[in-house]
Subunit: 249 residues, 2 copies
């Protein structure tokens, strides 16, 4: 991928797309797509690799995941609207996933927003998975890449999501510091400001969001805290064909 | 319009929609729509009413506006991509508009983003025009309304726009202070944070945005400063049928 032609003194762009629906407006010239669904799909994926899963197959429909229930070597996971789908033993909770025996297994997972974003972003040259759990490892790897980077937020039913864009702002902030990357889009600048406003206390910012109240009602506060704690893992999941595998880095 | 049914202690909602394309996801239960295109369509509209224009007809196409060139009693205005369209004497510059003789006249205007947002939002019970120029007058009027309010940003080619969302955050911030209004959407909370980050110096935030550099290249810096200066007017344009008129307030 050629660097952006402009008079700017950076060599590559890092941009933030707030929702999968807006991907067509932002995808041009973007070689690397980072899919972000902080609450909770991409956090769960990073946690799963950190706890020894072999690979993850993200699928669009619950029925595709259901076919793997009880199949040896597989963990079938499905979440809709924050809850485990009937018939499944696990949804998109990182804490529930990492309490299972994952070593060497394949997870087949369908979630409300996150797996949709993966499906939309997979036309990129390279698609990787981001979350607070692997923030520093991901950022350090991105800094070494010679390509434009699009941070694709999964959002919430194709609406803007605070935690996804705050995380995208954290990555943007670090990449901009290097001088190698620059931004063109207002969404990228706004993400950086949101991160700077939120970084002292993610929970205090997110608790202003009514959706968080709903998650608390579902007794998921431990899960939320876990998803917002940076640098618990160094793994970077990368899409290879139809499945996520560990990126060598 | 009934207030939102919830256990919240506010009576009405104020929400922010970042782009016209996302309007269908945010419009439910919204009685009042405020259309925002800070650079520069809605700033120009407020400036025009402040300087005595009788009414404004926003039209989707340049050709509709062109039919009014030279017609007595009318000012034909058209802007595309920040520039005056060939054949027109004025585009969407508030400074250029207010230097003209507007008293008692009708402006017919077509712009890249702002008139599109008006067209999309006009199914609301009431559609009004917002800009920094009429920030306090608009906010005080909104505070008196018993209805849910959607702040509809015009964006830039259906992408997120920093200045539109910062302005929406300024309105949101004031309405939340009253206790009468509350937010449900993450986009509304993020706008408030963006406004709080930007309010000390709008220009310093916006100059980080490459689009602003482009506007500067077009020698529009005076226009930009004018559009970012709050409370130069007390007029509130409101849509009545196919045209904007002065709201009695």
């Amino acid at each position: 991928m050629k660097p952006t032609a402009s008079q700017a003194d950076y060599r590559y762009r890092v941009e933030v797309c707030y929702t999968p629906g807006q991907f067509p407006l932002y995808k041009q010239d973007m070689g690397i797509v980072v899919v972000i669904d902080i609450l909770r799909a991409t956090s769960a994926m990073v946690a799963a690799f950190h706890h020894g899963v072999k690979d993850i197959i993200p699928v669009a429909t619950v029925e595709e995941a259901r076919a793997y229930i009880g199949k040896p070597g597989y963990v079938a996971a499905a979440e809709r609207n924050g809850e485990v789908v009937d018939g499944f033993s696990v949804g998109n909770s990182p804490l529930a996933l990492k309490s299972m025996d994952l070593k060497g297994k394949t997870i087949v997972i369908s979630t409300t927003n996150g797996t949709k974003a993966i499906n939309i972003g997979k036309e990129a040259r390279q698609l990787v998975i981001g979350s607070f759990l692997n923030l520093t490892a991901l950022t350090e790897w991105l800094l070494k890449q010679d390509d434009n980077i699009l941070l694709l937020c999964s959002g919430w039913r194709d609406k803007f999501s605070l935690e996804d864009s705050v995380f995208a702002g954290a990555v943007t902030d670090r990449l901009l510091e290097s001088g190698k990357f620059g931004v063109e889009e207002d969404s990228s600048i706004a993400s950086k400001y949101l991160y700077q406003a939120a970084r002292e206390n993610y929970m205090s910012v997110l608790k202003a969001a009514p959706r968080r109240k709903r998650l608390q009602q579902l007794h998921l506060l431990d899960d939320v805290k876990y998803c917002l704690t940076p640098d618990q893992a160094t793994v970077i999941p990368v899409l290879q064909g139809d499945r996520l595998v560990l990126l060598e880095h």
